[in-house]
Amino acid sequence: MLKFLNKIGDYAKETLQSARYIGQGLSVTFDHMQRRPITVQYPYEKLIPSERFRGRIHFEFDKCISCEVCVRVCPINLPVVDWEFNKELKKKQLRHYSIDFGVCIFCANCVEYCPTNCLSVTEEYELSTYDRHELNFDNVAMGRLPYKVTDDPMVTPIREFAYLPAGTLSGHDLPASAQRAGDRPEDVAKTLKTSSPEQSED
């Protein structure tokens, strides 16, 4: 009999415990209701891409020496380099250059290895089209610069989490003066130039 009562007591204790856990869970859910939504209401609001963002690749036609390094480092040999050997100049002459961004995985290896820096990554990510062949960008299309989110009057730019001041969790309703900890990349670049001008010329 005592054993049975003990069992009932244990069972009741367990039940109370689980009820308390459910109560704690409910309070957590309830607490979340008072927090500001983290929703970024695209296309009225857009996140500012970080400076490491690897978006659509930009190409400068005149800098290219048709070395095809980009093709060799590409995981699937994607860039199409159409060149012709100019016998008078004894130089390769570039005729067309294209990358199909419907196939590209945006690893930016080509940018990394380009010897003349004619390739670079942009922050453009809005690449939707009605026909996948439209994503095959030629050198003219790749030479265009994207419109910056911060310059667009139709869009409220919102900073990403890593660019918020310490202790802030949401990029909404933040004054522009509230900066993240540490130097901004522009400032870092400035100090590099003043400290070693010879190096930067190399």
């Binding site: 039940t15 459910i22 869970g25 409910l26 957590v28 859910t29 309830f30 979340h32 209701m33 927090r35 500001r36 939504p37 983290i38 929703t39 209401q41």
Partner: protein, 372 residues
Amino acid sequence: MNSGIDLQQSVIEILSNLGLPPGVAKLVWLPLPMVLMLVTAVLGVFTGVWLERKISAAAQQRIGPEYIGPLGILAPAADGLKLLFKEDITPGNADAVLFTIGPALVVIPVFLSYLVVPFGQNMLISDLSIGVFLWIALSSIAPIGLLMSGYASNNKYSLLGGLRAAAQSISYEIPLALAVLAVVMMSNSLSTIDIVNQQSGYGILGWNVWRQPVGLLLFWIAALAECERLPFDLPEAEEEIVAGYQTEYSGMKFALFYIGSYVNLVLSALFVAILYFGGWGFPVPLEQVASLLGVSETNAVFQVVMAAIGIVTTLLKAYFFIFLAILLRWTVPRVRIDQLLDLGWKFLLPVGLANLLLTAGLKLTFPFAFGG
């Protein structure tokens, strides 16, 4: 106890004063409350769906519907419209008749249960002497519809889903009935009006929550399981690919299930308000306050105000419990089928029996407090 406004009598009187014979006047009156109740139930569903979306969004730090009407209140209407225009498919080898009757059999009893939901002394369609029992009896028709639609779909997943839904509904009906029985025992009546009246008089102190806290928990858990809401939504299980007995349904037949589940939720919340939270009773006993202030109970303005307050308090209490259900939905994980049946048979049933016994004992010992 003053009976408050009697709409039926006043409408019939007005009509007979206009020259209609009393029989015709009654005939004109008859469909009015039913239509009103149907509209109320549908509006309740709309509000419920909208609240579900908004509160879910808030609990997940999202915004939820925003541009479909002000604050997205037209989102449920948009859902309904979409389902209305969708093709109504009957699978090739399904039993077309049973496949069509199934959803209707799930929805109609739920709507019928609104017959006994009171919003005031005379604010209900019919004050049946079997009130709550009618609701319990009607809610046990739903499993037949679920099983029917699952079986008629001619799909093994639908059949399994239907069986699960039926098993769940049947096993949770018993604790639900036991919880209701304890309340009924205290008020000596099955009529919803009597149950509310027995709680009135002392404001918030007279409500059944204080006498039936265990019963309330039992009732609410069992009601959630009856409505197939999280954490007991495993017959349908939204996140999973196969939607149980609803798998083969589309268009308006699916919409019937959808509406049915929300009407059922609103209904259960209303019944919690009626059985445990004093129905239309205000937390402060307004009648006594009025008589203290010297306002006559037969005063027309007072009666209208009281009726309005009654409706609003009933709805507020009900929607508080809908809010709780939505909050629970995003807090508690879904239980497994064996855990579900375990909870129903091994926990709720014995606790319900013990609660009933305890209530009976208390009723004999303290007849003044427990309705002797």
